[in-house]
């Protein structure tokens, strides 16, 4: 599995007929089993990059390839988890998780088994036959993750998936996602603006500057000793954590500073 972005640019039509350059010359690769985090200040276009990888938006220039195939639209090889809750409210948890399998006509018994496995993976077995209306925000995101994984994508794209959750639920979800990455060996490309989240989750952080968005730094949190940690507090107490958090905060502030000077 290799995702490759080559010199991606994106312009939007701006006010007064001009164009606004949102993203310029973004290139990076994500390899097999990697958890890669796109981090940057708001307005750096990180969500747009993720949407282009998903095939929901088209780059204005450059190419995105997955294992050599050019991406020119959405496909089930790239599963997406959105920040907004997307559990279909007319389907039960089980039916939601089975949804992608039903689309491609997987037999009912296999569908059921696969769904049960991933519902269990996100600890929702007790709620398998409930409708989303009884679920909390965190549980709804777990449904979305299970539904995406059950569809067996090559890469899991997550667009600020925990942004709408309260702080406690958020770190539970971060730990759960790491456990899932370990268990399934899935490649994850995730967007966030939360520095702590990025350091805990990422094997590699791609830091983006803004106006236009471009890759400013490629950060490997070496202090994590090349492994993933299942508990967040274990990462927080590692030597090197504080330094990295401080460095990234400075990067963020530089961006804000550049913004103020430009204005």
């Amino acid at each position: 599995m290799r995702l490759k972005l080559e010199r991606i640019g994106k312009t939007f039509p701006g006010p007064k007929g001009g164009t606004v350059e949102a993203i310029r010359d973004v290139s990076f690769e994500v390899g097999g089993n990697e958890v890669c985090v796109l981090l940057g200040p708001s307005g750096c276009g990180k969500s747009t990059i993720l949407r282009m990888v998903a095939g929901l938006d088209r780059p204005s220039s450059g190419t995105i390839t997955l294992d050599g195939r050019v991406i020119d639209g959405p496909g089930r090889d790239r599963g997406m988890v959105f920040q907004a809750y997307t559990s279909f409210d007319w389907l039960t948890v089980r039916q939601n998780v089975e949804y992608g399998l039903r689309l491609r006509g997987v037999a009912a018994s296999e569908r059921r088994d696969r769904a049960a496995h991933f519902i269990d993976l996100v600890h929702l077995t007790k709620f398998a036959d409930s409708y989303p209306k009884v679920l909390s925000g965190g549980m709804k995101q777990r449904v979305a993750i299970a539904r995406t994984l059950a569809n067996d994508p090559e890469i899991l794209l997550m667009d600020e998936p925990f942004g709408a959750l309260d702080a406690e639920t958020r770190w539970h979800m971060q730990e759960l996602s790491i456990a899932i990455a370990e268990e399934t060996g899935k490649t994850i490309l995730m967007v966030t603006h939360d520095i702590e989240e990025s350091i805990f989750m990422a094997d590699r952080i791609i830091f983006l500057s803004r106006h236009p968005g471009t890759v400013a730094a490629n950060i490997v949190p070496a202090f994590k000793q090349g492994r993933r940690w299942s508990r967040k507090e274990d990462v927080l107490e590692l030597p090197g954590y504080a330094e990295l958090e401080r460095d990234i905060m400075r990067l963020m502030r530089q961006q804000a500073g550049a913004e103020t000077e430009a204005a």
Partner: protein, 270 residues
Amino acid sequence: MTTPPRRRPLLTLRAPIARRSAVALGVACWLLFFAIWQFAVSAGLVTELLLPSPFKVLSTLVALLSTPDFWIDIGASVLRILVSFALASVIAVPLGIVMGSFRALEAFFNPFMAAWRYLPAPSFIPVLLMWFGTGEGPKIALLFVGVVFFLIVLVMDYTKQVRPEFIETSMTLGGTRGQILRTVIVPAVLPNVVVAMRQMLAVSWTYLVIAEIVASTNGIGAMMMRARRFLHTDEIMAGIVVIGVLGLLCDMLFRIAHRLLFPYIDESAR
């Protein structure tokens, strides 16, 4: 020690009131209405020929309900509503959904529909009478024309409100255009389609009465026009009551159907 809760004045801004008080207030308004009506009749402020007392209207209504003719009139009216509304829905719901889903279809149909919407349906009555004669045709046609264009737009607007993340989620799970339409857009918009139908059914009743008053020999509206000829004001008013009750009943049926059909909807999130 706990202090007893202080009584809030009845008119506190935005404050909720007890269910019992709400019911009592609703009933009170009706009682006041009937009291003023009865007073106006008793005090001789109005001619009883033109405005009979509420009790007279009620007793006439009870008497009418025991005659088969009245039930035939009610049946004729209800049948017209059912047939015309079914026809309008069969066309408007699918068309509204595809117009709300595909911009090209919206661009094609919408200017056409918009023009028809601004034409008052009753303005078609003369030509409908010429085309369809005096049978059921012109009545069904009037009700259909009065409802179908509005229902299309309501369904289209509700379809456009289907959350884009739902559609994009299905896309990234491998959904094709047809699959997304069938498995996301239709189920997502269906509860609101029922709401739109409920709203338009009320309009349907309005056109029904117009159709029956203008050109009909049966139905509740025609019954009222017959009563007018013999100055039976009490029968006219009994007719009005029946129409009101039937309208209310339809609305209730739709509400109950909505609850039964869509148990998964989170009422608190609305």
